[in-house]
């Protein structure tokens, strides 16, 4: 935790000393299933995420995208299947264990606590403490300032404002900023531009590209086909809880992608 806190914000710092082979598999999900009562939310989902790639995850509502995300986040535990990180099978049983593997999720509703201030939200669940009890406010503020400067969040001088006083774009940037605080290796974003204006959306797309530059591998759940084609290297298509296709963007055109989403066929 301490090393995370002290690490710099220079590009690539997340993976110093790591093999930068672009085709190295960072995450592999094999045959993962999840059932909620009568609902089979995920069935035999299989895909992989490569080093420093941006993988778009597409599918209609109810296709299982959010459940997949929450399984990787450790919020839900998979009923069956195996998850590999760096080629090693791992057990994601809790949010903490997911975080320990370097996975960070940016939720669609951003996962911010509205009544709390900016530093607290950046460090939510991982507040740095002395003796396990006393909050290290100064450390949090310094690190927050670093991250905010890096994100170019405009008009946010006073860190003590509660998050519900920020604009939509500022909040989104903050939610993504959380991945910068911890230098995450695998970043999963759920509809990062869903509620934003054009300008703010462009800022967020830039941030996602930057996450990749800094060494993270990124999964982006999105409904926006333009973003899929402009941003992603590969795409994972989900339908009715199954992974129906994973392929490079260059192998698909928009019509084929829509067909895959709607019909599950290619």
């Amino acid at each position: 935790m301490t090393t995370d806190l002290q690490s710099g914000l220079a590009p690539g710092s997340a993976r110093q000393g790591r093999d930068s082979d672009q085709h190295e598999e960072v995450l592999r999900v094999e045959g993962v299933s999840k059932r909620f009562g009568a609902l089979q939310a995920l069935q035999d989902v299989t895909f992989d995420l490569r080093n420093q790639e941006i993988l778009a995850v597409v599918g209609a509502n109810g296709a299982g995208k959010s459940t997949l995300m929450k399984v990787l986040a450790g919020v839900h535990k998979a009923d069956a299947g195996t998850i590999f990180v760096d080629g090693h099978p791992v057990d994601i049983t809790s949010v903490k264990s997911s975080q320990a593997l370097g996975i960070e999720v940016v939720y669609q509703d951003l996962g911010l606590v509205p009544n709390m201030d900016v530093p607290f939200n950046l460090f939510l669940g991982r507040t740095p403490t002395r003796m396990g009890l006393f909050v290290q406010t100064r450390k949090m503020r310094e690190r927050t300032r670093q991250v905010l400067d890096h994100l170019h969040i405009k008009g946010l001088q006073d860190l003590s404002v509660s998050v519900d006083n920020l604009s939509g774009g500022q909040r989104q940037a903050l939610a993504i900023g959380r991945t910068l605080v911890w230098d995450r290796r695998i970043v999963i974003l759920d509809e990062p531009a869903a509620a934003l204006g054009v300008e703010e959306t462009n800022e967020v797309l830039k941030l996602i590209e930057e996450l990749r530059q800094r060494g993270s591998s990124v999964m982006v759940v999105t409904h926006n086909m333009d973003h899929v084609f402009s941003l992603a290297d590969r795409v994972l298509v989900m339908r009715d809880g199954r992974s129906v296709r994973q392929s490079a963007i260059s192998e698909l055109d928009a019509d084929q992608l829509v067909q895959a989403i709607m019909l599950g066929t290619v």
Partner: protein, 365 residues
């Protein structure tokens, strides 16, 4: 809460100048410059009416201080030197410890968005255990009361967290059960701390009298202020009150925090029960009766919202003092005790009517 001080409705300019930071918060659709300009123009146009809301904001944020000041001045006028005598203020302070401890503890669970109705019955029950303990083991036996209070709190938190029953129901049931247990164990009789029935408890009774009582009041307050404002425990409880779901998504151990919050209340209830015993010298079936409502009143009067997410232990102290001053003042003025309740209830409604910023709340339930 400093925030609510300058978040008076529609004084967006006032708020901007107060924090200097939020100027772009409402301008997602337009450029910040033009938004500021139009807002400034608007603010200038209705300048005279802007003063009102700003004053309202200050009043809202400080209703506990104002209530206390108004009560003191009122009873000074009505009660004269009897009320303003040194001896009377000593009495006021001596009446504070039990209620203050309970109100401070309850502030923590209310901040997290929960409620604890069992603290009054807890004081009675833990006090009984402490009295029985001291009969057998002398002064160290009082510790058994603190242990009993803590265990009751942990049980409350455990049932709440693991059986997922609302805290209101859990602690309501707990209150009823504890009252029943208190009646059964005490046999409906007062249980003295020793056989001499002297009504004093070792060094404890003098410690709860002036001037020592000041320490008994200040030390717990200081500890709880630090706990509430400077520790991860207090911060995460505020986060739970703001959004328990989000806190859970980011790995705040919800069940642990629920058990810890109610366990903490239980610990303080245990300590309060010993203080109560020190003042009265005996545990009776009536001990702590209605104290849960006094404690919640003090918290609410202080301005901590029952919806959770924010609060202030300092204002809880003011709320507690206001309630104690009110009871004391009414007695001095010669108003019968039953009227005390009516005045107290009315004060609560008036204070909240002033303090509540309804524009921040969509629906009031």
């Amino acid at each position: 809460m400093p925030r609510s001080a300058h978040s008076a409705p529609e004084t967006s300019l006032g708020r901007d100048s107060a924090t200097g930071a939020n100027s772009s918060q409402t301008s997602s659709g337009e450029s910040a410059g033009s938004a500021l300009l139009s807002r400034r123009r608007k603010a200038f146009a209705d300048f005279p009416s802007r003063v009102g809301p700003q004053v309202q904001g200050v009043v809202r944020a400080n209703v506990a201080f104002i209530a206390l000041a108004v009560l003191v001045i009122l009873f000074w006028i009505l009660g004269g030197s009897t009320f303003m005598s040194v001896r009377n203020w000593e009495i006021i302070l001596e009446q504070c410890p039990v209620l203050l401890l309970l109100a401070l503890a309850v502030t923590f669970v209310i901040t997290a968005g929960y409620i604890d109705l069992s603290v009054g019955a807890g004081v009675g029950f833990a006090g009984l255990i402490a009295a029985l303990g001291s009969q057998h083991f002398g002064m160290p036996g009082l510790l058994l009361g603190i242990v009993a209070g803590t265990l009751v709190g942990i049980a409350n938190g455990g049932v709440f967290a693991f059986l997922k029953i609302p805290s209101f129901i859990v602690t309501l049931a707990s209150m009823i059960i504890l009252r029943g247990a208190l009646n059964i164990v005490s046999g409906g009789q007062a249980v003295y701390t020793d056989q001499s029935q002297s009504g004093t408890v070792g060094w404890l009774t003098p410690a709860l009298q002036y001037p020592w009582v000041v320490i008994v009041l200040v030390v717990p307050f200081a500890i709880m202020w630090v706990l509430y404002n400077k520790t991860v425990f207090g911060q995460n409880l505020k986060a739970l009150g703001g959004s328990e779901r989000v806190a859970g998504l980011f790995g705040v151990p919800l069940r642990l925090y629920k058990v810890m919050a109610f366990g903490f209340v239980g610990l303080i209830v245990g300590i309060a029960s010993v203080a109560n015993l020190g003042q009265i010298g005996a545990a009776s079936p009536q001990s702590g009766l209605g104290m849960e409502l006094d404690a919640i009143s003090a918290v609410v009067l202080g301005g901590t919202p029952l919806t959770g997410g924010s609060g202030s232990v300092t204002k809880t102290v003011m709320g507690t003092l206001a309630l104690v001053v009110l009871a004391d003042g009414l007695t001095i003025v010669g108003i019968p005790p039953s009227w005390n309740d009516i005045v107290r209830g009315s004060l609560l409604v008036i204070a909240i009517a002033i303090a509540l910023d309804r524009r921040k709340i969509g629906i009031v339930k």
